[in-house]
């Protein structure tokens, strides 16, 4: 026993990697002999590794400088992959804290910081303060602070904590959404507001938490409020003026949804006129949600954006018979016009709160001898989808997390087969429904590496007991009706970090975690992937073997998104925010997700480097205004002067 524990701890801290060895070998073997043809090389493609398990190519557009991190997902394809490789499998165990930054707020910290032109931009949860940190000066001091002063009312309208999922950089501006339904642009140099556009009315229960996504001169934004009976939408604004260019609703008439002659869904169920109203009881679509609070990706060749819509409102399915289109749906839209090209509803007539808002990672993937342009989407409903992003056809669909709501997947109709015993009805307590409302995986974005061809994701292993209670629509209050308790699924662990093969729809390896895993993932060319846990462990893992190479416990739980960048000293850094909150803590009564040793809230950004070295840290390091590392022995106390 002690021998085992000792070996385990030496290798992994307190993580317990579970390895599906035979499976991994099988995949490796089959992919090497069945790889059909050389993938079509794109001039913007990341360099693939010789050891790719899938042969996938990933597009690096818009080709941001390798040492910077200018958007939440780093690239249009949403890979969260960095070509930096100073930190790699051979030295990552020497990662130490180089510096930290505390932002003074205590709600959930879900955003990734950005690094542009030797400045780091850090945004806080409500009141959505934006800090610029000067990476050219010792101690990375604050360069400017922007306080947007959002309406306090918004705090009580956000379902899942007063979070923001981050900022986007474009044309010298930082653009982000305020919880009170305004999109703002801030001058990156001065920290002054450039424009502010009111996108919704917070008094209806609508908020905004997603990170804007920039394509050319357009910035795409959407709303939150799937539990508030909002009318969900996505909109494109002009980057320089903030003027709204188009808006597409998630329910309503074809005109409102921006469905026209070009709309060609793959499956019959999604063909027809005005399905955004006809798949609902009269007028229920007006408060049917389909909010757009997750991630957007973009294919620069097809000029299409991809994103998902939220659950339908209310969360009591018997109040809204029908498929409830276009909620829990993935859309492909023309970025210039906003017109829909195809749509695919992941969970028709969603009964469990299985939003389709999770990220869509774009890959060119060899499948059955053909390179297909696909999007990989690990849905809240626990199915991992590989979808042809030209046509909307499902190529692979297989559960990546424990689930029992569906007995299988009908590839002909592209629909999971529902187990009728897992359908909730009002005032009936339904036990053991898996996954729960927050899904087999929530918004926390996965990463992909062209070197392995795999997708890396923080997922959940959670079930719920649920009782539906009929909800009334009262503007200003929630339109919800779901009373539930969550607890661990079989295995007893709440979290899991997995490597997913999108060509086969199979896990390659996984690491089980006691507590929830709800952080973003970072993949790097050093073949190291990074993730965090809700109880505060930040880990570096070998992208190929799944072996935990390094762990550190941070001051709070981690639901942020790790990034990497190059400093002025050409040194590679890894950054992550620790500040538990969000859906991981939104239900104070759900003790299963907040056991007694669960961490308290926090607000610290941790920046790591090899041995903790940086321009201004380390033994005897002193600073001055003129020279970041010039020793000043006469002062003797290392402070600025």
């Amino acid at each position: 026993m002690w021998d085992w524990v000792d070996g385990f701890l030496r290798a992994h801290g307190n993580a317990r990697p579970l390895k599906f060895v035979p499976l991994a070998l099988l995949i490796a073997a089959s992919s090497s002999c069945s790889r059909p043809s050389t993938p079509v090389q794109d001039s913007h493609a990341y360099d693939a590794g010789s050891g790719s398990l899938t042969g996938a190519t990933l597009n690096a557009a818009p080709n941001d400088p390798p040492g910077e991190w200018r958007s939440q997902a780093r690239d249009y394809a949403n890979t969260r992959y960095s070509t930096l490789d100073q930190i790699n499998t051979s030295n990552v165990s020497r990662l130490r804290v180089a510096w930290t930054f505390s932002d003074g707020t205590l709600n959930g910290h879900e955003a990734a910081p950005l690094v542009v032109d030797n400045t780091m931009y850090v945004v806080t949860p409500f009141p959505d303060i934006l800090y610029a940190l000067d990476l050219t000066r010792a101690g990375e001091p604050i360069k400017w602070t922007f306080k947007p002063n959002p309406a306090p009312m918004a705090k009580g309208k956000a379902c899942c904590d007063t979070v923001t999922r981050g900022v986007a950089y474009a044309n010298g501006k930082l653009i982000y959404n305020l919880l009170d339904d305004h999109t703002v642009a801030v001058d990156a140099k001065t920290g002054k507001e450039v424009w502010r556009t009111k996108m919704g009315n917070v008094e209806t229960g609508e908020t905004m938490t997603m990170a804007p996504f920039v394509v050319g001169n357009k910035v795409l934004v959407g709303d939150s409020g799937g539990e508030m009976g909002v009318w969900g939408w996505i909109a494109a604004l002009d980057v320089d003026s903030g003027k709204e260019l188009w808006r597409a609703y998630s329910t309503g008439s074809d005109q409102q949804v921006r469905i026209g002659d070009d709309f060609k869904p793959f499956y019959e169920r999604m063909k027809g006129k005005d399905l955004g109203t006809s798949t609902w009881p009269a007028d229920m679509w007006k408060h049917g949600a389909g909010s757009v609070w997750g991630w957007i990706s973009y294919d620069p060749q097809l000029k299409l954006i991809y994103y998902g819509t939220s659950n339908p409102s209310p969360r009591v399915p018997d109040q809204r018979p029908g498929d409830n289109l276009w909620t829990s749906t993935i859309f492909a839209r023309d970025v210039d016009t906003g017109m829909a090209r195809w749509a695919y509803q992941t969970t028709p007539h969603d009964r469990w709160d299985y939003d389709a808002v999770n990220e869509d990672i774009l890959m060119d993937l060899p499948i059955n001898g053909q390179v297909r342009k696909v999007l990989v989407h690990l849905d809240r409903n626990a199915y991992g989808y590989t979808i042809d992003r030209v046509t909307g056809e499902v190529l692979e669909a297989a559960p990546f997390a424990y689930q029992n709501w569906s007995t299988g997947f009908d590839m002909k109709t592209g629909t999971p087969v529902v187990d009728p015993d897992k359908e909730p009805h009002p005032n009936v307590k339904l036990v053991n429904v898996c996954p729960p409302d927050i899904g087999g995986k929530d918004w926390q974005p996965s990463a992909a590496s062209p070197r392995t061809g795999l997708v890396y994701a923080d997922i959940f292993n959670i079930c719920m007991d649920v009782t539906d209670i009929e909800a009334s629509y009262i503007p200003s209050s929630p339109f919800d009706g779901m009373d539930m308790n969550r607890y661990p699924a079989p295995g007893g662990n709440l979290g899991e970090f997995i490597a997913w093969n999108p060509a086969t729809g199979k896990k390659v390896w996984s690491i089980k975690e006691i507590y929830m895993t709800m952080s973003g993932v970072l993949a790097t060319a050093g073949d190291v992937v990074f993730y965090g846990t809700a109880d505060g462990w930040f880990r570096a893992v070998d992208a190929r073997s799944g072996k935990v190479l390094w762990s550190q416990k941070l001051g709070s739980g981690i639901i942020g998104q790790p990034i990497t960048y190059l400093g002025l000293d050409h040194r590679q850094y890894i950054a992550i925010s620790a500040g538990i909150g969000g859906a991981a803590t939104v239900r104070a009564d759900v003790i299963a997700l907040r056991p007694f040793d669960f961490p308290a809230g926090g607000n610290t950004l941790y920046v790591f480097s090899i041995d903790g070295d940086s321009m201004s840290s380390g033994p005897g390091q002193m600073t001055s205004k003129d020279n970041v590392s010039k020793a000043q022995p006469e002062t003797g106390n290392g402070t600025q002067h």
């Binding site: 385990f8 317990r16 200003s476 003790i591």
Partner: protein, 217 residues
């Protein structure tokens, strides 16, 4: 005089004040039943300050000592529970009242005051961080029923506790062991103790021999 005795004295004084007020109400209404319900008037509620009264720290605000006429009425509590669900209170504060988008209603931590009349005021007038004002949608007796239901959840601040809760003269709570005891659904995956190494540990960078259960590349 120890703290407990002080609390008792204050409690008795508050109770005396309360029964005096109650008696007054009953005689005004001409009612002879002990369970007659009459609500504090809007004028009286209007005298409830949100903060302390400047310059007059010892001044007693009569309205603050008004209890909820429904506070021990099981039927009203049941009706309050139905209202709590019907008016979507549960959507923000959870079906068990323990908080969700909105604050926990089962504890003694109240941003705008946890006395019955303060909770009444909060429901009627709303609060700036998202709480709607229900005064236009619900008549006073329904709001008082909601207050009764919230009081029945075990938290809030009772009229007799007001003085010491206001100044913090109350014991703290140790939450961890209770949470552990309540953790019927807690994760069951084992949490391993850290063994104390006998000697200096192997540097982490050196390869470790593979053991059963460990991943193999």
């Amino acid at each position: 005089m120890n703290l407990r005795a002080i609390y008792s004295a204050i409690g008795i004084a508050a109770l005396a004040l309360l029964s005096a007020l109650g008696g007054c109400k009953h005689s005004e209404g001409g009612s002879t039943t002990t369970r007659a319900v009459s609500f504090p008037s809007d004028d009286l509620i209007g005298t409830v300050p949100l903060g302390q009264v400047a310059g007059e720290p010892a001044r007693a605000v009569t309205a603050l000592s008004m209890d909820n006429p429904y506070h021990d009425n099981p039927q009203a509590i049941q009706q309050g529970k139905q209202l709590y669900i019907k008016m979507n209170c549960a959507g923000c504060h959870a079906y068990n009242g323990k908080g969700n988008m909105g604050p926990d209603l089962t504890d003694t931590e109240w941003r705008y005051g946890g006395l019955p009349i303060q909770i009444y005021e909060t429901i009627r007038d709303g609060r700036p961080q998202g709480m709607p004002a229900w005064g236009a949608a619900l008549p006073p007796d329904e709001i008082w029923k909601l207050v009764a239901y919230i009081q029945s959840l075990g938290g809030t601040v009772s009229v007799s506790d007001y003085e010491h809760s206001r100044q913090g003269d109350q014991p703290g709570e140790q939450v961890a062991p209770e949470a552990q005891a309540d953790a019927q659904f807690a994760p069951t995956m084992p949490i391993f103790p850290i063994p104390i190494p006998a000697k200096t540990q192997t540097p982490s960078s050196s390869p470790t021999p593979a053991k059963a259960g460990e991943p193999k590349p």
